[in-house]
Amino acid sequence: MTQTSYVRTEMVPQKAPPASSAGVIGWMRANLFDGWMNSILTVISLVFIGWVLILAVPWIWSPTWNGTSLQDCRELIEVAGKQQGACWGVINERWPQMLFGFYPEELRIRPSLAFFLLFVALIPVLFNMISRRMNWLLLVLVLFGATFFAEASVLVTLAKIVLGITLVYLAYTVFSTNADTRAEEIAAGANRLPNPLYFSAIYLFLMPWLLWGGPIWAPIGAALGLGLGWLAYRLLAPVIGNLGAVIAAFLVPVVWWLFLNGFFISAMSAVIPVGLEPVDSRLFGGLLLSVTIGVTAIVISLPLGIVLALGRQSDLLIVKSLSVMFIEFIRGVPLITLLFVASVLLNIFMPPGTNFDIILRVIIMATLFASAYMAEVVRGGLAALPRGQYEAADALGLDYWKSQRLIIMPQALKISIPGIVSTFIGLFKDTTLVSIIGLLDPLGLSNAIRADAAWTGIVWELYGFTALLFFIFTFSMSRYSMYLERRLRTDHG
């Protein structure tokens, strides 16, 4: 007879798990040798990995760093008593070209500076764990470092002194501030450094100027256009209403950039001629070209994609149809076709004599291409949000834009992070397609280098180097997206 009545008199205390399920052995048993089938698969995988390493490592480990030609490399390998090996001399000799293309050698400090400043500008956007003083310290550190590579002049020496003193001061504030009590000090109204996002905004205008050079009034004029748009919105919004003011805020900068900015630049340059030596787009190449196109397109395609996704969800028929047509057309056409349009067709439609920069054209096409994909990724995130979130936002009296900005987009974008980052990575890799229209990205350059008699026949080393460069970027992006997903998790813990 079974007993149906039972009363527990003592509660069971917590105990440690058995040794076989914890520690290294427990982990291996659970993940590698969990039954016969898995054990066999583990062994086969280990053998395969070992086999690949046995083949690859001796090839990579080759004493040819100082080889001056493929022939020379072969001799070096023979001297070392090996059958075969990589010829790393080509990388040793040509790596500056792989990074910068034909960018003038004495000016390469500028793209390098732009590259390092890119990280300084990205940090406050991407991470929230770094303090303001740390961020400004990094900025000054990069600028200070750059002065050592600049041509010596009175101005550079002066900058060195000023930056050096600032650096010491910032380093002092970093070490003298107690991170634990800082939050309270801020709440009590302690003096803070300005938000580093200001520099990130400035960087948007600084980067093209550093890369292409020209008078300093060009980036200032471009920024001024945005400032005028903002001013137009603030002045007109009370007079002609919100919608009219938004339209004006779009039109004013466009009119400024198209018609007035040129006069502004030439007039100001005549008065105060300050600027950097201009560099032609034809000289851009290598990783510099890929990063320029990739980063610009990535930065612009996300907001554009969001706008398109919202447009596609809109109740307004015309906005909706335009968005759908744009997205479906761009997604339906291969990127190479768009690039050919950029390199060949656009020139035919342009009035004769206009010089529309080829890199700019490519950036526009790559951006449009990515933004169409981005729009669909974001739309997926929007579709995954429960209806109740929209209703709760409405019921609280938030208007459309506020509820999008505060409630809907933060959640939709969080859901879409894997898709967004995939699109970014895809876009960055697609920048190599520009070699087809004659721009010298790392792949285009590797063909050019192989045309040199000394390096004819070199394939793996150049492609391997290019792959490594791209892998560093794409892998960082993928790790960052995983970090971001973890950071934004709010369900438990």
């Binding site: 019921a395 009296g397 208007d399 505060l406």
Partner: protein
């Protein structure tokens, strides 16, 4: 009764029905496509009333209260909330919404914000209250719903009952004149229904105008001053709770009550 008994004594001393109009619905009709969900609804609500709306599922009771803050659009008739008529004019809609609080069956808290941020969001962005002040008000309401210690957690870390109480506090932070409850306890475990009902009773005791769609007949009996029974998109019967439960007039109401009581 199938649902929660209200064990505590309800203090009626502050519950006054004034003769100021809060909501006036005249000849309102609504269709979903061809389907006629709400038919000739006439309803007048005075300030301080506690109205419970009940009825079988699909009778249009949720749709009715969702029309009051225009989460649903009505196609004919008039809805006037606190002197503002609801129409396609978005300004009026936003005005009504900021004065009418709503609590949903599935809480609809914002999962990406902390409890405190959930509460301060609308006061800061709609009412333009300074953050510090909004946070003080939010903490007051969290104390009122008895979970001030959860202020910095995320909604996903709270129990269902706690989430619903946060949702009530979130609506109250906007200092609404009218509160709408759309089946606030239907998604909760029995143990948690009580804590939410207690919060709602306290609110009623302070004299809030409330429209509650619910199956909690205990709440209707003890707290409401009027019970409305809906079926097929129409108001079939309305009466004071004692009369409504003890002496229902229409056959449809009798059938409904015999099934749920």
């Amino acid at each position: 009764m199938p649902a929660q008994e209200i064990e505590r004594e309800v203090d009626h001393s502050h519950m006054h029905v004034s003769d100021t109009l809060a909501i006036e619905i005249v000849g309102m009709n609504k269709w979903y496509g061809q389907f006629h969900v709400l038919r000739d609804i006439d309803l007048t609500v005075y300030e301080g009333e506690r109205i419970v709306i009940c009825g079988p599922s699909g009778s249009g009771k949720s749709t009715l209260i969702r029309c009051i803050n225009r989460l649903e659009e009505h196609q004919a008739g008039q809805i006037i909330v606190d002197g503002t008529e609801l129409s396609s004019d978005l300004k009026n809609v936003d005005k009504v919404r900021s004065e009418v609080g709503m609590v949903f069956q599935h809480f609809n808290l914002f999962p990406h914000l902390t409890v405190l941020d959930n509460l301060t969001l609308a006061p800061i962005w709609v009412r333009k209250t300074p953050r510090k002040e909004a946070e003080d008000i939010a903490m007051q309401y969290l104390e009122k719903v008895k979970i001030p210690e959860q202020a910095l957690k995320f909604p996903g870390q709270l129990s269902g009952g706690q989430q619903q109480r946060v949702a009530i506090a979130r609506s109250l932070c906007m200092k609404p004149k009218i509160m709408l409850f759309d089946e606030p306890t239907s998604a909760l475990d029995p143990e948690m229904i009580k804590e939410v009902l207690d919060t709602m009773i306290e609110l009623a005791e302070e004299g809030m105008t409330m429209l509650v769609v619910t199956h909690e007949m205990g709440f209707a009996e003890k707290v409401a001053n009027r019970v409305i029974f809906m079926d097929d998109g129409q108001i079939v019967e309305q009466n004071e709770p004692v009369e409504f439960f003890n002496n229902p007039q229409s056959d449809r109401t009798k059938l409904f009550l015999s099934q749920i009581l």
